[in-house]
């Protein structure tokens, strides 16, 4: 591509519309190592005090490492379920003869439109019937299920892009459809799996409402709950910078994942929409 256009006006506009984000995230980062009070424009007083919660479980953040571990387990399990079920379901829907396949696909698309959180009373009843209320397994199952329509649809899109010839070749080579799926198709949709996995993980990592409502007393505290706790201004020892620091700590793994896999994430709709 030729570069025969002036770059700087575009850059300037970009910069201006990005400014709120740059400022917010900039100050967020600054707040973690300074004693800046809310409302001060210029940061002041460098300190690492805000990060004490990492070693000291007596701060409002409690035992942060346990919560971090829990969050990993939580997001990881969700990712696992979403990936497995979407990988199998997406394949079946994309490639196999099923009764009501069209209907199923259409319903999956429609399910995007569900205001999922307002179904929560219903979800609660279901959990209660199944004895999963106030358990993390229940929350994981619910969260994973809510992501499923998205996951199946995305995976279906990816399967659709794999040439039929690959599969035909596999069948010719004597492999069963299951083998074909496992050995030939899955490796082909790896970008989709990776992107979906990342999305599921990020989504699970940030989930806040479900654990709060469906497992209120569970000892399995995830970071979003901790952050909410720390961020409750009604507390006597409320500390805005501690809140920001815990927030940054909470966001950090996500950022790392994101920085490493940005392009993988961008793939998410690789199979999804038509151009």
């Amino acid at each position: 591509m030729t570069r025969n256009f002036p770059v700087w006006p575009v850059l300037l506009i970009l910069l201006v519309i990005s400014l709120p984000l740059v400022i917010m995230y900039g100050y967020l980062a600054l707040g973690t190592v300074t004693t800046t009070e809310p409302g001060e424009l210029l940061p002041s007083g460098v300190t690492l005090e805000n990060w004490r919660f990492l070693f000291d479980s007596s701060t409002a953040a409690g035992n942060i490492w346990a919560a971090t571990f829990n969050t990993f387990v939580f997001a990881g399990s969700i990712t696992l379920i979403v990936l497995t079920v979407s990988a199998t379901g997406g394949y079946a829907v994309s490639r196999l003869n099923l009764p009501f396949r069209r209907f199923f696909l259409a319903s999956i698309l429609v399910m995007h439109a569900f205001p999922s959180v307002t179904l929560i009373i219903g979800v609660f009843l279901v959990l209660q019937f199944t004895g999963l209320y106030d358990t993390m397994i229940g929350v994981i199952a619910v969260k994973a299920s809510l992501m499923l329509p998205f996951g199946i649809w995305i995976m279906k899109g990816f399967y659709d892009t794999v040439p039929w010839e690959i599969e035909m070749a596999g069948v010719q080579d004597g492999a069963s459809r299951l083998t074909v799926w496992w050995r030939l198709l899955l490796p082909q949709v790896r970008p989709g799996l990776v992107a979906l996995g990342l999305f599921a993980f990020l989504d699970g990592w940030g989930e806040y409402v479900l654990p709060r409502i469906l497992a209120p007393t569970n000892d399995f505290r995830v970071l979003s709950i901790v952050l909410d706790l720390v961020g409750n201004p009604d507390r006597a020892n409320y500390d805005f910078n501690l809140f920001k620091t815990v927030g940054v700590f909470y966001t950090l793994p996500v950022l790392v994942i994101f920085a490493f896999f940005q392009h993988r994430l961008m793939d998410i709709f690789g199979g999804g929409t038509k151009g």
């Binding site: 959990l127 209660q128 209320y133 106030d134 007393t217 706790l229 201004p233 009604d234 507390r235 006597a236």
Partner: protein, 432 residues
């Protein structure tokens, strides 16, 4: 004898580290109970499982859903206003069936607090703490606008008698502002979010929340109009911004505890925050506190207390409940309750508590108990009060910010209350 093992769970809402005695008191009670039993020759082992919730909304949601699934804690520490809906939903056991209110320590509890814990003719809960919502003035600023020391000390009395009204307050803070003592639009700093406080203003203008006679909820349009108008006037006067609501607590605490405002209102428990965290060293030297002044002749100076209560859920066996009730009763001993009261700057629940040295030494606690609590009333225990509550605040927000006129805001609030509750609410128009 055979050892009896019990597990008693306690959840407390809206609680943090400073108010952890809400649940710890039960642990202490359990320990005491075990010892008493041992002396009686019985072996009782009680495990107390505790859980603190920092917020209210999620706590109530958790309790409701847990109760629905039969896993509610044996003891719930919540606001008294939940008694109404929860009783109707069948979540609670009446505590009066399990403990003797004529015996120590329950027989020394304040009558009005027990009243607050009652619903439909039964006592459902045991008061856990009390507080009061207070009006504060910054002494130096008052002095600067012409009050003498004595006049300032007499202010609470003047407020109580209705001589000093909310509008007098506006005039004073305006003067402080004009004198440059406080910044523009910072003279008066009310609560930044919805809370029982705003019902005090409703009462200041003559509003009533419940009709004595019929027990029905009351929606007093006149009082509401006057109250909304008051805040609009305050904005017009320039002592509070039109865009005030929804601010940040941290900022607010910082401002009021360092004399950046002339007058404000808060809770008795804020004392702990200001003295411990915000570095307010000489509370009584710098601040004078009163009831919420009356707004006009219809109204009266008042305060609202929003006591928390120990409630017994219907989870578990009758024996569990009986033991839980026993523990709650022990936890209400003045000495044990004082731990909570003093640590979290709440007020006593019973007459004897004032004799507990820890409490007696706390000047704030004792003074506030004497000066404020007797004049405090509480929000109604009514299953439908939430509707009125929400409607009132929406209207306040709308008129305060100037989004709609006072009349329209009142109109809208009435609309939503009436459409939701029908004739379960009495709408009072005009003078009466």
């Amino acid at each position: 004898a055979i050892a009896e093992d019990y597990t008693i769970s306690v959840w407390a809402g809206g609680s943090g580290d400073e108010s952890d005695y809400r649940v710890k008191a039960i642990e202490i009670a359990a320990d005491l109970y075990e010892r008493e039993a041992a002396i009686r020759g019985e072996e009782v082992n009680i495990t107390v499982e505790t859980q603190l919730f920092s917020g209210w909304d999620d706590f109530k949601q958790a309790v409701t859903l847990a109760a629905e699934s039969g896993t509610a804690p044996n003891i719930i520490v919540s606001g008294h206003e939940d008694i109404g809906p929860w009783v109707q939903a069948g979540i609670l056991r009446p505590v009066e069936d399990y403990v003797d209110f004529d015996a120590w320590p329950l027989n020394q509890l304040y009558e009005n607090l027990i009243q607050v814990s009652s619903y439909d003719g039964k006592i459902w809960g045991i008061p856990q703490d009390a507080e009061s919502r207070v009006f504060f003035f910054w002494r130096e600023h008052l002095e600067a606008v012409g009050y003498s020391k004595e006049e300032i000390d007499a202010l609470p009395k003047k407020v109580l008698d209705g001589e000093y009204t909310l509008y007098s307050m506006l005039d004073d803070v305006k003067k402080m502002q004009d004198a440059g003592l406080v910044e523009e639009a910072k003279g008066f700093m009310p609560r930044i979010s919805n809370g029982p406080d705003y019902w005090q203003f409703y009462q200041s203008f003559g509003g009533e929340m419940v009709d004595e006679e019929s027990g029905k909820l009351v929606f007093d349009k006149q009082a509401l109009t006057d109250m909304y108008q008051f805040f609009v006037d305050a904005v017009d006067k320039g002592v509070v911004p039109a865009t005030y609501l929804g601010g940040d607590w941290d900022t607010w605490h910082g401002a009021v505890s360092s004399g950046k405002a002339g007058a404000w209102h808060g809770g008795t428990w804020h004392y702990a925050q200001w003295t411990q965290k915000n570095g307010l060293d000489d509370f009584f030297g710098k601040i004078v506190y009163t009831l919420i002044p009356a707004g006009n002749e219809r109204g009266r100076a008042n305060a609202i207390t929003h006591p928390l209560v120990y409630l017994l859920s219907n989870t578990g066996t009758d024996d569990d409940a009986a033991l839980a009730a026993e523990l709650v009763s022990i936890a209400s001993e003045p000495r044990i309750n004082a731990l909570h009261a003093v640590k979290s700057s709440h007020l006593a629940i019973g007459r004897e508590e004032i004799n507990v040295p820890l409490y007696a030494e706390s000047r704030w606690a004792t003074e506030a108990t004497e000066n404020l609590l007797p004049h405090a009333n509480a929000l109604p225990n009514d299953a439908d009060f939430g509707v009125v509550w929400t409607a009132m605040y929406k209207g306040l927000e709308a008129s305060w910010t100037g989004v709609s006129s006072v009349a329209d805001a009142v109109e809208a609030a009435e609309q939503s209350v009436v459409s939701a509750l029908g004739d379960k609410v009495i709408v009072r128009d005009g003078g009466m």
